[in-house]
């Protein structure tokens, strides 16, 4: 590691230039809560570390005129928690982001890093997927947008092109009567890797679900968007039959691994349980309860 270089670009173009030039030998540093741990463990040995925290666009939180949000890819969880509006509009997503690591880690860790780390068990990703968040990417060939669920390619891998940096997230404006929630199953009360994670985002009108999105984590090589579960909820009054159908859809979507954190059968079972519970919380929030 003795020949590692560290740069702190002030502009996105500078960062993209340096990243592209390094041809795969560079790693992006946002909070560093994954990267530094991996480097210490010897799992990665980058020749160049590009710190993106000094780039204004990557660290801003902006509520857009239409009621949506733009969040910089390097914004720390603690800063989102302090934002006067974000948690009111997206309580489930904020909870998910704030579940990354400990209080100390929250001062550094970002949703952008959580997504780019490519862990199927990343806590913020199912909630982002449920929220319908879109990632903004910038690379040598310019800027493009990609739905969050399309970013992960497998454990530890993403669909970002060489030299591409995640700039931030665009969250859509929320219709009235919307609510979201994220729940995860862990053995302890905090600080564990999710055995299953489930994000639900929905809109209710006169008690009927008019829109819904469901994200599931830790049950497949990538975080999943489960459209069949959303479909089961849409048009229903979130009655037992609809919830059962959505839970069954979640279970059907699971193809988890069997490891010491959980068996296939257990993860699959719990995915359905969390869907029902998260949908309940999201519905309460949608009703303003």
């Amino acid at each position: 590691m003795s020949d590692m270089r560290y740069v702190v670009p002030r502009t996105l173009d500078e960062a993209v230039g340096a990243f592209a030039e390094a041809k795969g030998a560079a790693r992006i540093l946002a909070g560093g809560t994954d990267l530094l741990v991996q480097m210490r463990a010897g799992a990665v040995r980058p020749g160049l570390v590009i710190d993106i925290k000094k780039i204004a666009e990557l660290t801003g939180i902006e509520e857009t005129a239409d009621g949506g949000f733009r969040i910089g890819g390097a914004v720390a969880g603690a800063r989102l928690a302090e934002h006067p509006r974000f948690g009111k509009v997206w309580p489930g997503l904020l909870e998910a982001i704030n579940l990354i690591g400990s209080t100390q880690v929250q001062g550094r860790a970002s949703a952008g890093g959580n997504l780019c780390n490519g862990s199927p068990a990343a806590d913020s990703v199912p909630a982002m997927v449920a929220a319908g968040a879109v990632a903004t990417l910038q690379g040598p060939k310019g800027r493009r947008e990609m739905p969050v669920e399309d970013v992960p390619a497998g454990p530890g891998r993403t669909n970002l092109q060489p030299g591409e940096i995640l700039v931030g997230f665009i969250l859509p404006p929320r219709p009235l009567g919307s609510g979201d929630a994220y729940l995860r199953m862990i053995p302890r009360t905090e600080m564990d890797i999710a055995v299953v994670g489930c994000g639900v985002n929905l809109t209710l009108k006169d008690g009927v679900c008019t829109a819904a999105r469901v994200g599931l984590g830790a049950v497949a090589p990538t975080v999943l968007r489960v459209d069949a579960a959303a479909k089961a909820l849409i048009g229903s009054r979130l009655d037992a039959a609809a919830l059962d159908a959505a839970a069954a859809a979640c279970r059907a979507a699971c193809h988890p691994i069997d490891d010491k954190r959980g068996t296939i059968a257990y993860r699959t079972e719990v995915a359905g349980v969390l869907l029902k519970r998260a949908a309940g919380i999201a519905a309460d929030r949608a009703k303003g309860a």
């Binding site: 053995p187 302890r188 009360t189 905090e190 600080m191 010491k260 068996t263 079972e269 719990v270 349980v273």
Partner: protein, 788 residues
């Protein structure tokens, strides 16, 4: 917290902890010496392999490297770590000499094959990566089942993998079980766990060529035993080795074994003539520190139709890893389970077989509770089953069976002597404090709302301050089993006391100071305490097995008695009166009778040192006494735990809602320390019950090398714990004290299992800890765990 104590008392109780909390403690990691070198170890990635060759040439050439140790040469100069048992004992035992550095064969992942000594740890680690080892992998015995199978890989060929076997019987189990109206059985698996001390292990070794002395700072619990162990491995006289345990940040039994690293550091310091240091990192701590428990038990209980307990029989297979550790040997776990199983009950018959089975894993050692947590886990679970079968309340069935005060002293079914205690009153105290009836009511109401609450109970005893008789009975000849204390009074009357049971953060300085201040009638501040240095403290086994107050404190009280006797002789001589007409009281000697004269401790000390004093015959000048102490018997403390849990009916997650403890450790010297021991012990018991598990795969690969994999309970997992004290002094110890250092860890797993099974109303054939959400879910679904 600290109910019943005022702020001043709390501050006094924690006087020695406040500087530690402020970062003023000096641990091995804080120590620096001029010219100090650092050590990194090359460890085996294989569970079992032959070593074809070790090439250290490239490592030697790395920047900053001073020396690389490895290969056969070292084996000739260092005797292996040996752990002997009395050859005449009533058991079978195979010794497994453990080379500090492997050179022919590695027997577990993490075994040391080379050590790099360099200018700093970074350079040492980089060079360690350059050591090339050519392994020929062998099939591994990764658990007890694999090790006992026909044709199993032999960890120490030849002779099979059973290293130790013991049987304990009383009464006629065959007849008792044949006639018993009720017989119930179950299989238990307690995971492999380890104490996660905040401070890992650490060593700083310095050879003093002038004095021909090795000064050895180690985070050890056993300074004298460590010295003796090093002496044997190095072939260096023990009195040329000075072991110093500075502040130690928790130990829990792990640090009461001789580590191969310690032997290598001692060797390197002497060889190089420069100080060498090694601070264990957390991954090393998880992979290559003494693990514990890893026990499978098959047990059966016999009872009559009224719920009277008749018989208990059990077989325990303890997965002890690849070697016996010094000084306890692999007999530790199977021996102790025998003592623990009968619990606070009378059994007409008892039949136990315990095995220590060698596997290709890190060696097993002591961890808070040793064997004792297995006792109530098995016995209390089976008693709950009898109660459920007979539709009897679990408190009631225990009331019917607990030993009573008039049974004391009681010889248990496995041959231990319970000295004192009122077990039924203890259970009642817990029931009253919890308001058990309201818990049951709450449980009923919750059930109507679809929630599952469960109430668990565990009654148990804890062997403490184990004396020479206990260790003789176990054949553990490496443990001297006594403790010593010396008290020195300066010419000006200042008191210094040294005790052979050092502190790992339990607050021994405060406790010993209090004990002595109350005995002598002097202010605690007037007493200086010396611990943890073989050049300062007299000989003793060290701190483990809940022995600090009983054995170390007993030695201190005995020494205080001897000091008082000496002071009386001095005073009587001064006044020219018979010794019988003076008595020690309140910090001085008093002439008995109206208007009697008095000499203070300081005045007497002045006399003892002064050349002008005409000392009586047989009284040596100066004022220092020393006592080696072996308690008359190992006292048994006791406790009852009541716990209320909630089980998530869909995910199987267990949350502890309330926790009540009634305990009896005899007279309490330092209430804050006792409560702290109980709470900390319960936290670790919760870990064993619900979270902690060192997992090895079928190839013997260690899968729990980080704290993301090995889950210890955090603040969120440990409930507020309500503690009730009951005081029944032991007739066999100096101050009537009984040890309480392991109590919480012993009771918590049994109590939590009892509560979860009460919530589920389930008696699965296998109880497998930790009760992870998935395992609890499996029990709810009636699925047996395939990995049992």
């Amino acid at each position: 917290m600290n109910r019943g104590h005022n702020r001043a008392a709390v501050l006094e109780a924690h006087a020695e902890h406040l500087p530690l909390l402020r970062g003023l403690g000096r641990y091995v990691g804080d120590l620096t010496l001029p010219g100090m070198l650092h050590v990194a170890f090359v460890r085996s990635p294989h569970a079992h392999a032959k070593i074809r060759a070790i090439d250290v040439a490239a490592a030697r050439g790395c920047p900053g490297v001073v020396d690389v140790l490895g290969g056969a040469g070292l084996a000739e100069r260092l005797a292996p770590i040996r752990a002997r048992l009395d050859p005449d004992g009533d058991y079978d035992y195979r010794e497994t000499p453990w080379p500090a550095m492997a050179h022919e064969r590695v027997r577990y992942v993490g075994e040391i094959v080379a050590a790099v000594i360099a200018a700093d740890r970074y350079k040492a680690e980089d060079a360690a990566a350059a050591v090339a080892v050519d392994y020929e992998p062998l099939a591994a015995a990764s658990d007890v089942a694999a090790a006992l199978r026909d044709g199993a890989p032999e960890v120490h060929a030849p002779g099979g993998n059973v290293l130790f076997r013991v049987r304990k019987q009383s009464g006629d189990a065959g007849a008792c079980f044949a006639d018993a109206p009720l017989r119930l059985s179950a299989r238990f698996k307690h995971p492999r766990v380890a104490g996660m001390s905040m401070e890992g292990c650490g060593v700083l070794a310095r050879y003093d060529a002038v004095a021909d002395e090795l000064v050895f700072w180690s985070s050890t619990q056993i300074p004298h035993l460590l010295r003796d162990g090093l002496s044997r491995c190095l072939g260096m006289p023990a009195e040329r080795i000075r072991v110093i345990a500075p502040e130690v940040g928790g130990a829990f039994g792990i640090k009461m074994q001789l580590f191969p690293e310690e032997v290598i550091l001692a060797y390197a310091a002497r060889q190089l003539g420069r100080p060498v240091k090694w601070i264990q990192d957390r991954s090393e701590h998880l992979i290559a520190s003494f693990h514990a428990r890893d026990v499978t038990v098959e047990a059966e209980i016999a009872a009559d139709g009224e719920g009277r307990l008749l018989g208990l029989r059990a077989k325990a297979w303890c997965d002890v890893g690849a070697y016996s550790a010094f000084p306890l040997t692999c007999a530790l776990e199977p021996h102790t389970i025998a003592t623990a199983l009968p619990g606070p009950y009378r059994w007409d018959c008892f039949d136990y077989e315990g095995y220590a089975v060698a596997t290709n894993k890190y060696p097993g050692g002591a961890y808070r509770g040793v064997g004792f947590p297995i006792g109530p886990l098995v016995t209390e679970t089976l008693i709950d089953r009898v109660a459920r079968k007979l539709d009897c309340d679990p408190i009631e069935i225990r009331r019917r069976n607990l030993l009573r005060p008039d049974d004391m002293p009681f010889s248990s079914a496995s041959g231990a002597v319970y000295d004192s205690g009122d077990y039924p009153a203890l259970l009642q105290a817990a029931v009253d404090r919890a308001d058990y009836a309201t818990w049951r009511e709450e449980q009923k109401q919750a059930a109507q709302a679809g929630r599952r609450l469960g109430i668990g109970v565990a009654c148990f005893v804890e062997a403490s301050g184990m004396n020479r008789r206990v260790y003789r009975g176990r054949g553990m000849m490496e443990i001297p089993a006594f403790e010593s204390a010396l008290i020195r009074v300066s010419p000006g009357g200042d008191i210094f006391a040294a005790v052979s049971t050092p502190s790992q953060g339990q607050g021994q300085r405060t406790t010993f100071r209090r004990l002595l201040s109350e005995r002598l009638g002097v202010a605690p501040d007037a007493i200086a305490i010396g611990l943890g240095d073989t050049a300062v403290a007299p000989y003793g086994a060290g701190t483990f097995g809940s022995r600090s107050v009983v054995s170390g404190g007993g030695a201190l009280l005995a020494a205080a008695g001897k000091l008082c006797d000496r002071l009386c002789v001095l005073a009587a001589a001064r006044w020219a009166v018979p010794v019988a007409s003076v008595a020690f009281a309140d910090g001085g000697v008093q002439e008995i009778g109206q208007g009697g004269r008095r000499l203070s401790l300081a005045e007497l000390a002045g006399l003892a040192y002064s050349a002008r004093t005409d000392l009586p015959d047989g009284v040596e000048p100066g004022l220092e006494v020393r006592v080696a102490h072996d308690p008359k018997a190992a006292p048994f403390s006791a406790a009852a735990h009541l716990v209320l849990v909630e089980v998530d009916p869909r995910t199987g997650q267990v949350a502890i809602r309330r926790y009540v403890v009634a305990e009896d450790c005899g007279p309490i010297v330092n209430p804050a320390a006792v409560d702290g021991q109980v709470r900390g012990g319960i936290a670790q018991g919760i870990g064993c019950a619900l979270y902690e598990d060192i997992v090895y795969d079928a190839e013997g690969q260690h899968l729990s090398a980080t704290l993301q994999d090995y889950l210890v309970p955090g603040a969120g997992e440990v409930p507020e714990i309500d503690i009730v004290h009951q005081v029944t002094p032991s007739p066999f110890t100096e101050g009537g004290h009984k040890g309480v250092g392991e109590s919480g860890t012993i009771g918590a797993p049994a109590a939590i299992v009892s509560a979860v099974m009460d919530a589920l109303r389930a008696d699965p054939p296998r109880i497998i800890l930790p009760l992870s959400p998935q395992r609890v879910h499996d029990v709810m679904e009636g699925r047996a765990d395939e990995r049992a």
